[in-house]
Amino acid sequence: MNDMENVLESIGVTKNYAGKAAVDNVSLKLETGLVYAMLGPNGSGKTTWMKMVAGLVKPGKGEILYKGKAIGKESKKEIAYMSTEPYFYSWMTVADVGRYYQDFFEDFSMEKYHQMLKRMELTEELKTKKLSTGMMAKLKIAVTMARNAKLYLLDEPLNGIDLLARDEIMKSILEVIDPDVTLVISSHLVDELERVADAAIFMKEGKMVRQCMVEELRSSEKKSVVDLYREIYGHGGEELC
């Protein structure tokens, strides 16, 4: 176990959209084996940053290094990204989604996918276009976590999910954790990530405003992540309706 090693480095990364910086000079390092909560309201740059790490969007300025090398074909093999947008064709069944992923990713495990489906109570013949928001969220998690990736980027995995299902999803995420696996989970549901994250990254208006270890924050500053979130943004995160 090499826990001091950094799996990812973001160096002065900037991305502009229509003249406005969506991500503004973000420098941070991700240590191998840790779970990071990426926090901030909508529009704070979380999604754009994740897309750059996933190799879907190119930085305007700065660079991102995965295990010391630029993002590209090789990094994509080891980085699993789950976006907020639904990305399956409407004709697909749950089984088709698995096959589609299997074709795309060498590290996809059909066995793991089936286990995940069972735990999420999804059946293979279900059509994706008929899935409820909650079921779709579960499917996205199942297919993403069925990859044996080294770095997982999960963009708002708990969005639109009821409390019970949230717990199911968090447990499925926890099961992949390993000393050589790193996770970044974005959310504005700060509370849900508090117990699961080793570290928190706070984003505000495209900038990374703070990065800290969760337990250290509690013992040295006697603050929870929720407390710090309130300090930074002036409110305690959005509530799900």
Binding site: V35, D167, L174, I177, E194, R195, E215, S219
Partner: protein, 120 residues
């Protein structure tokens, strides 16, 4: 479960396990769940669980057998002491709280006696 916001989570979970041990919910010498099992059942980070076990080991509440896992201590004396220690902490906190409200120890004893008589 709910977590207190200012106490490190690993200490909170360690306290829960200690409570299970002193109340006999977990027996002497019993094998504790693996790091992954405990992480999933409490929905907490596995690194936090490792810290929980490390803490319990340092306190002598648990021990690790290489390749076999973590076990509750077999020393009943240790558990008895731990129970007394936990009770001591509770009583201390209680008395401090009462003192802040302006009650003396004599007042506290009187109040407790009254409680006992009323069968609560």
């Amino acid at each position: 479960m709910e977590y207190n916001s200012s106490l490190p989570i690993y200490l909170q979970v360690a306290n829960l396990i200690k409570r299970d041990i002193v109340t006999g919910k977990r027996e002497l010498g019993e094998k504790l769940p693996s790091v992954r099992e405990l992480a999933v059942s409490y929905t907490i980070n596995p690194n936090t669980v490792s810290r929980v076990y490390k803490e319990l080991e340092t306190e002598g509440v648990c021990f690790t057998r290489r390749g076999m896992g973590t076990f509750v201590t077999e020393d009943s004396e240790k558990v008895k002491n731990m129970k007394e220690e936990m009770a001591g902490t509770l009583i201390h906190e209680f008395l401090e709280g009462m003192q802040q409200l302006g009650f003396t120890k004599t007042d506290v004893i009187r109040i407790l006696k009254k409680k006992e008589e009323s069968g609560e």
